[in-house]
């Protein structure tokens, strides 16, 4: 059987409809961005994984999104590192986080424009992964705000990113 492997940037809504959870192969020789579907869900961890499903916008509309860096054991890490891409008409918009260097170009206002909505129609965005992951339900829902409640320095973010898991 030929494994269903593709670059993460090639994932489509149809791929996510078939397989909501994809994981990185971490095989550098064929490319760091190659992913394959996870057949068995719910999963225990979202490390090295990308999810695709519908998120709920502030105005109640649902939009297809892909999610990465969702830490099912650390809500604070999720708050700072979550990556969210929203699909519209076959195109993906990758929302920048406050620490990303192109926040102005890809921030909340830009996403609202991409969707043809007002910023307050879009944010906060509710990201609920309970269908796909086992764990503490409270840690499986993330709210993406237009302005983060807490901002860490670059050094603090780096320290959190490399920290060993207990």
């Amino acid at each position: 059987m030929i494994e269903n492997i593709k670059p993460v940037e090639a994932l489509t809504v149809a791929d996510f409809e078939a397989h909501p959870v994809w994981e990185y192969l971490n095989d550098d020789e064929i490319g760091e961005t190659m992913v394959r579907p996870v057949e068995m869900i719910p999963v225990e961890s979202l490390d090295n994984r990308i999810l695709g499903f519908q998120v709920r916008l502030a105005n109640g509309l649902q939009a297809w999104a892909s999610i990465g860096n969702f830490d099912v054991t650390n809500r604070r890490a999720t708050q700072h590192f979550l990556i969210l891409s929203i699909e519209r008409g076959g195109e993906w918009f990758h929302l920048a986080r406050y620490q990303d260097f192109d926040f102005t170009a890809r921030g909340p206002a830009a996403l609202a424009r991409f969707l043809g909505l007002g910023v307050d129609d879009v944010f906060p965005i509710t990201v609920d992964v309970r269908r796909y992951v086992r764990g503490n339900p409270a840690a499986l829902i993330a709210i993406v705000l237009k302005e983060p409640q807490e901002k860490l320095t670059r050094e603090e973010l780096l320290a959190m990113a490399v920290r060993r898991r207990p």
Binding site: P7, V8, E9, N26, D28, D47, N48, A77, F101, A161
Partner: protein
């Protein structure tokens, strides 16, 4: 610390297990020195046994002076009978076990000194006044030998130790099969055959022949120090990393420079933003090195990464 070598320990193996034999090998692996640790008391206080042991020492001074094998590396000495009968060791045998010609395999027949039998220990390790030998378990020997060989090939200590502990954890270690696989390991090391070294290291565990290579290969990933999606060249010197560390590296880097943003995005960055991305990669890699004891930043520079 006084260091010396002991050899005659091998002689005693046959007295412990007279009906046990191992297959012959062409030469003995070099298991290195044995450390001696000074102690304040003699744990075997019976005066007669100490005198007997000292008398034994006096009668065999030349063996002590020239010995090369550590106390628990006495497998080859047990091969005398087998060698005489012309048997040979087949490293590719299905089970990887080394039963005697007329004996079924029995783990309990392993030449391990019973820990609750001081007489047996004493017969292997005669006292040297106020010194006694450091006693390595067979498992420690296997692990140390495998890790040393891997590090001899330039593999980082964390990788070598991770591999040996991973393999040991999976399969469990006993002294059987050590000799043959040690030879495999040394041979693979001489040929600079990295996968062969991994396999031989794993193969030092009995019953692991069939799975040795896959276990070893599964345990190690070749890592691009400068990820290609961040502009790294296709051809780089891969750094062998244990899977857990490789996953940890990319999982953490995803938080800083997500792969989801795709290669084209990073390639499209302007000079300033691109410089920021490279700085972030350098800073992350240094932090990762500090946290995990790796040397990935050095490898990054060796692969042409411009110092940001």
């Amino acid at each position: 610390m006084l260091r010396t070598r002991i050899e005659q320990a091998n002689i005693c193996w046959s007295s412990i297990m007279p009906d046990y034999s191992l297959v012959p090998v062409d030469h003995q692996p070099d298991f290195g020195d044995v450390s001696l640790v000074p102690v304040d008391h003699d744990p075997f206080s019976a005066a007669d046994t100490i005198q007997r042991t000292r008398a034994q020492l006096e009668s065999q001074p030349q063996q002590l002076a020239t010995g090369a094998a550590p106390p628990n590396a006495g497998v080859p000495a047990n091969n005398v009978e087998a060698a005489a009968s012309g048997e040979s060791y087949d490293p590719d045998s299905a089970s990887g076990d080394i039963p005697g010609p007329h004996q079924p395999y029995s783990p309990s027949a392993a030449p391990i000194i019973p820990s609750n039998d001081p007489t047996a220990v004493r017969s292997h390790y005669p006292t040297f006044g106020e010194l006694k030998p450091t006693i390595y378990t067979p498992t420690q020997h296997i692990g140390n030998l495998a890790a040393s060989a891997l590090m001899g090939l330039g593999i980082q200590p964390y990788t070598a130790n991770d591999l040996t502990s991973r393999v040991g954890n999976v399969l469990g270690l006993t002294p059987f099969g050590v000799a043959g696989s040690a030879l495999d390991l040394i041979d693979a090391k001489r040929r600079d055959d990295l996968p062969g070294v991994f396999a031989a290291a794993a193969g030092m565990i009995p019953g692991a022949k069939g799975v040795a290579r896959s276990v070893a290969e599964d345990a190690i990933h070749g890592h691009h120090p400068w990820p290609m999606y961040l502009g790294g060249p296709v051809k780089q010197d891969l750094v062998p990393l244990p899977i857990s560390l490789h996953y940890a590296f990319h999982s953490g880097l995803d938080k800083v420079l997500p792969r989801r943003m795709r290669t084209a995005y990073y390639e499209s960055l302007g000079p300033t933003e691109r410089q920021q991305a490279l700085q972030a990669l350098a800073a992350y890699t240094k932090n990762f090195d500090a946290e995990h004891g790796t040397k990935l930043y050095d490898a990054l520079l060796k692969n042409g990464f411009p110092t940001p």
